[in-house]
């Protein structure tokens, strides 16, 4: 049991000037679940993509079951029994569930495909997804279910090593449990599982051993049992993070935003009402698909509303149905999207273009842009948020994920509006950057801004917010001060819509 089925030694990989991996070792044994943890940009995904054959390493060697292993492409990886669940959703939206699950592994005779519906149904059943039909179109499923389809693909495949790169980042709690059970069965069958997650609780729950990466180097490895979480965190960020969540008071002031009777086109959100005061950080919890994003998007005019009104700074109520993003910005609202790549950054434009895009009026006179002023202000924000970039003219897609997220935040800061909707502001962000973002949110509240923060990560809501509401199927519970909530109470409302 103790000998490694997979050994990676001295793996190096550079992308131009970026040295993503600088000689990493990793040893995985049969029948173990091995956690791979580290900050954003530490190189976890890159290492796993080398393992699965997406990238080729610049140096280093890999051994799989005692034999040298050097995949040239994902096909080689699969042939060697490496199955991978990628961090970003890897699905063909036009195809059915069955077609996606079997993609690349079709059973065919003379090129003619033979259906594998039975097997696909069995796998979905194993994941507790009897309700997902094999002939449903994947684009018709929610993100959580789509994630599960991808997991099913990895399970259907007859693998010897399964890599899971943040598989639970958009899973509901019960789906996560079903996944853990499936992982447990794999362990029993003697498969090796590599599990990447930013949720250290999950690591403690399912993993046997761990390896920490930092800045493309292996820092430590060991048994999960008996290693304190604080030790792992310290290895990840290179210092001890004693206080993740900021402390210090900020006073709540007059009401800034009053929402009543918000009703979405598809019935989500359903009759949502809440009031937001100056200096308030209001959290919204809920399961995936509960309608949290939809609520703020509707308020911001990105999704259409059936009815509802909002009043800002006590002025007369506006109809949400007439809201547009432009009007929302002009009324002092601003939104940080949960998906920065699709909605948040113009990836092939420069950093400074992205920073000022929502506020070009400030940088133009009679329609003409004042490029100098724009660049100076851009440089200020880059310094203020410690964004790592060559210059303000650097293209957004040349930045690492965490820095991209900071650019998005900087756009909000630059816009300087009073009412901020932050949708999953720390999704996919490492723990050190998280702490920075929490501090920033706190500082904004102290300046008298009002913030709505949506997150699927309960500890952060409980640690950062003043008040909290929970959503279930489009309905928002009463918004209460955080101390009045317990995790149990939150989960009860989130799963049943019943508030004790």
């Amino acid at each position: 049991m103790s000998s490694s089925v997979l050994s990676l030694e001295g793996i190096r990989k550079s992308f131009g000037p970026v040295h993503a991996l600088q000689g990493v070792d990793l040893h995985v044994r049969a029948g173990e679940v091995h956690a791979l943890v580290g900050e954003n940009g530490a190189g976890k995904s890159t290492l796993m993509k080398i393992l699965s054959g997406v990238y080729r390493p610049d140096a280093g060697k890999m051994t799989l079951y005692g034999a040298p292993y050097a995949p040239a492409n994902p096909l080689d990886g699969r042939a060697a029994g490496v199955s991978m669940i990628y961090q970003e959703l890897v699905l063909a939206p036009h195809l059915t569930v069955e077609e996606n699950v079997t993609l690349g592994d079709e059973h065919a005779r003379y090129g003619w495909i033979r259906p594998r519906t039975r097997e696909v149904e069995r796998i979905l059943g194993d994941l507790g997804q009897q309700g997902v039909a094999p002939d449903a179109r994947v684009s018709d499923l929610s993100i959580g279910k789509q994630q599960l389809v991808e997991i099913a693909r990895a399970l259907l495949f007859d693998a010897r090593i399964v890599v899971m790169d943040e598989p639970t980042s958009s899973l509901a709690a019960d789906d996560t449990q079903a996944l853990f059970e499936a992982i447990g069965r794999m362990r029993e069958q003697g498969l090796a599982v590599i599990y990447i997650s930013h949720f250290l609780e999950e690591v403690q729950e399912v993993c046997d051993r761990y390896t920490v990466l930092r800045d493309g180097k292996m820092i430590s490895t060991g048994r999960v049992m008996g290693t304190p979480v604080s030790r792992i965190i310290e290895d990840m960020v290179g210092r001890s993070v004693d206080e993740l969540f900021p402390s210090g008071d900020h006073a709540l002031g007059d009401p800034l935003l009053d929402v009543s009777g918000l009703q979405g086109r598809r019935g989500v959100p359903a009759n949502v009402c809440f009031t937001l005061r100056r200096g308030e950080i209001m959290g919204i919890a809920g399961l995936v698909g509960a309608g949290r994003s939809e609520t703020v998007r509707t308020l911001f005019g990105l999704d259409s509303a059936r009815s509802g009104a909002l009043s800002i700074r006590g002025r007369e109520a506006l109809r949400v149905a007439w809201m547009t993003p432009r009007a929302a910005l002009d009324h002092g609202l601003d939104l940080l999207s949960e998906n920065r790549k699709e909605e948040g950054l113009a990836l092939n434009l420069s950093l400074v273009f992205n920073l000022t895009l929502s506020d070009l009026r400030r940088y133009s006179r009679a329609g003409f842009l004042q490029l100098g002023k724009e660049r100076r202000d851009g440089a200020r924000w880059v310094d203020a948020l410690r964004i790592r970039a060559g210059s303000v003219e650097q293209r957004a897609d040349e930045l690492s994920g965490g820095n991209q997220q900071k650019v998005c935040l900087a756009r909000l800061l630059q816009q300087d509006n009073d009412i901020l909707f932050l949708d999953e502001p720390t999704r996919g962000i490492d723990i050190g950057s998280k702490a920075e973002i929490y501090k920033l949110v706190h500082r904004l509240a102290q300046q008298g801004k009002a913030i709505v923060m949506i997150s699927s990560y309960l500890p952060e809501l409980l640690g950062v917010c003043d008040t909290l509401g929970v959503m279930h199927k489009g309905r928002l519970s009463a918004v209460r001060p955080v101390p009045e909530w317990t995790e149990h109470r939150i989960m009860q409302f989130a799963t049943s819509g019943y508030d004790a």
Binding site: M84, V90, A92, L95, G104, I113
Partner: protein, 328 residues
């Protein structure tokens, strides 16, 4: 559990069919006798053969999120090559030489298609640009081979393929129509029931996914464009048969008609959607419109306006349907 999906899939193929029936009925009502005569139906079918066969190939390309603007030039190239081979010294218009000419024409287009695919995948240039370039290059080559002239050919059996009245009259339709029908069945089966077809859809739906799932995307694309070229080559032979000469200036802009046929038939330029049956229906709709307008004596410009409106209209209706489905 299986029904709703099939039902939906059928709906998206039935849509264009209803359109075809509507257009046909409309003209039948306006010009009763001449339009609906069996002979005229045969004419319409024959006139759809070329665009139809080329559209089968383009369907694969469009489903894979590609586009091929060089189809018209490829057709011209085929007619010229067929004519040139038939004129080779020592050639005689028996069975063999025309067969050789046919093979040469089809092979040349398959080569052009595969080359397009190669450049697209090897250098990662968008298909629009690559095929915009090869559209000109192939046209130039066709003119070069044809010495900038139409190339007359001796009589041979190839020129009988596109006759409206077939020579053994029990055939009912000309050989071209039967050939198109056979290719329809083969292409539809290829696209729906084989690994090739499945990968075509997967690449069009999400190329990255296909790649990560072990589909050899580059090689597949070369195959897809090559297949497109092959079918275009067959269409080119039909065009030769239609014209009985090699004409390097023929079929200018025909690719747009072909793309329109695919799109009217439910194909989506953003990939992942389309069907061979839909595409032939699209081709038929356009042929019926042209034929019917001539029957009515409508001027060309009215035809053009109607066809333009139908292209947009078809996509619009398709989209409403999708919306309905998502909502329901």
């Amino acid at each position: 559990m299986k029904k709703p999906r099939n039902y939906k899939a059928m709906l998206s193929e039935i849509g264009p069919l209803l359109g075809l029936i509507f257009v046909f009925a409309l003209f039948a009502a306006l010009t009763p006798s001449a339009f609906t005569s069996f002979y005229n139906v045969k004419t319409i079918l024959t006139q759809s053969v070329i665009i139809g066969i080329a559209a089968f190939g383009t369907t694969f390309i469009i489903v894979s999120e590609g586009i091929d603007l060089s189809v018209g030039s490829q057709i011209a190239l085929t007619t010229v090559i067929v004519a040139a081979v038939l004129n080779l010294p020592g050639g005689d218009p028996g069975i063999f030489w025309p067969l050789l000419a046919l093979a040469a024409g089809v092979l040349a287009c398959t080569g052009v298609g595969a080359f397009n695919g190669f450049v697209i995948t090897k250098f990662r240039i968008v298909p629009f640009i690559v095929t915009l370039g090869s559209m000109q290059i192939v046209r130039g080559i066709a003119k070069w081979i044809g010495k900038e002239q139409t190339v007359p050919t001796p009589d041979n059996w190839l020129t009988n393929l596109m006759l409206i009245d077939p020579s053994p009259s029990w055939l009912l339709f000309g050989p071209g129509v039967w050939l198109a029908l056979a290719l329809l069945v083969v292409s539809a089966a290829l696209l729906k029931y084989t690994v090739l077809g499945r990968y075509t859809f997967a690449i069009g739906s999400n190329e990255q996914t296909a790649r990560l799932c072990g589909v050899k995307v580059d090689r597949m694309k070369i195959v897809i464009y090559g297949l497109g070229g092959l079918l275009t080559g067959v269409a080119g032979v039909m065009q030769y048969s239609y014209l009985t000469v090699g004409d390097p200036t023929t079929a200018v802009g025909l690719e747009l008609d072909i793309i329109a046929a695919v799109v009217i038939g439910g194909g989506s330029l953003s990939g992942g959607e389309g069907s061979v049956v839909g595409s032939i229906v699209g081709a038929l709709i356009m042929a019926v419109l042209r034929n019917g307008s001539n029957m009515l004596g409508l001027p060309n410009y009215v035809q053009e306006i109607i066809i333009g409106a139908i292209i947009v209209g078809a996509v619009l209706i398709d989209q409403q349907k999708h919306r309905l489905r998502t909502a329901g």
